[in-house]
């Protein structure tokens, strides 16, 4: 194709590239979300059992899918970083985490909004809800762990390890409705079986998910640019920060 992709693995080259990509993904996000909302509110019919409350599905399912999807992508970048010892991979993982946490929070919130009118309860401690809540804790843990470690290289690698340790939770969330008798409904959209929902509903859901995905890419790229600029100011990998160096010097001369 003629493009040397490895050129963009340096943060300095990636910064302007990301800058050019963001408007495209933002536009795609706006269009897709707009179309999804239109289909969801003006084309999809009223549900027989749940009335209009079911329309929450058009944000609940996309946010839930994105929360799991982003975690897996983040863990993949973390694994790449650990395997290749590549700083940009860790930076991508760092950029994804807050967006993933936000979608997890929204999945839980919209789920509660849907649960109250349909199940009669804001929250139940069934397998899927509990494991999604655990996912939120995992995102927060990753972000806090990174924030607590001053040494950049160690922060990158420690949060990467933690992200990978927690990736086992994602299949648990996904399969929990199949493994346990939970209150949460089972899979309505399957790759093989015919959908149990009206086609317009499925379409709106998928379009919204795609829109959220484009949004996530745009926001992640923007945050990645911030991370690149911030790291340029901070001491690089392997070098001590000025504060640490002074502390060490003081320790050597001052005694135990």
């Amino acid at each position: 194709m003629g493009i040397n992709w490895f050129r963009y693995s340096s943060p300095q080259a990636f910064h302007p590239l990301a800058g050019r990509m963001i408007p495209w993904f933002s536009a795609a996000a706006l269009v897709l979300i707009g179309v999804g909302l239109y289909i969801g509110f003006f084309v999809a019919p009223t549900d027989f059992q749940q009335g209009e409350a079911y329309r929450i599905i058009f944000v609940h399912v996309p946010t839930a899918w994105m929360s799991m999807f982003l975690y897996v992508i983040m863990a993949a970048w973390a694994a790449l970083g650990l395997g290749l010892n590549a700083r940009p991979s860790f930076m991508m993982a760092q950029a994804i985490a807050p967006t993933g946490a936000m979608f997890t929070f929204l999945a839980l919130l919209t789920g509660a909004m849907w649960g109250k009118p349909t199940w009669g309860a804001w929250w139940v401690w069934d397998a899927r809800l509990t494991s999604e809540l655990i996912l939120l804790f995992q995102y927060v843990g990753i972000i806090l762990l990174r924030a607590s470690i001053d040494d950049l290289r160690r922060a990158d690698r420690a949060s990467a390890v933690f992200a990978l340790v927690g990736v086992v939770n994602v299949p648990i969330i996904y399969f929990s409705v199949r493994w346990w008798n939970t209150l949460h409904q089972g899979a309505s959209v399957s790759m093989t079986a015919s959908p149990k929902m009206a086609t317009t509903m499925v379409t709106a859901m998928l379009v919204m998910t795609l829109g959220f995905w484009m949004y996530s890419i745009a926001v992640t790229l923007a945050r990645m640019r911030c991370v690149i600029v911030e790291r340029e100011r901070q001491p690089s990998w392997g070098k001590n920060s000025a504060i640490q160096e002074v502390a060490e010097a003081r320790e050597c001369s001052g005694g135990v």
Binding site: F41, F42, P45, T46, G51, E52, A53, R55, I56, V59, H60, T63, P98, T99, M102, F105, L106, L109, T110, M113, W114, K116, P117, Y215, V219, A222, R223, R225, C226, V229, E230, E232, R233
Partner: protein, 52 residues
Amino acid sequence: MQWGSLTEFLAMGGYGLYVWTSFGATALCMVWEVLAVWHRHVSAAAGRRDLS
């Protein structure tokens, strides 16, 4: 168009509170996130200019 009027649309068959809280919170969070990243970008760029 399946909604008789704007009032019907907002009421969402009685479930308006739940539906609009969900969509509203989602929209709010996404807008907030965009603004937060924008703000972070501005501070990061400003910080860099200070050093040089």
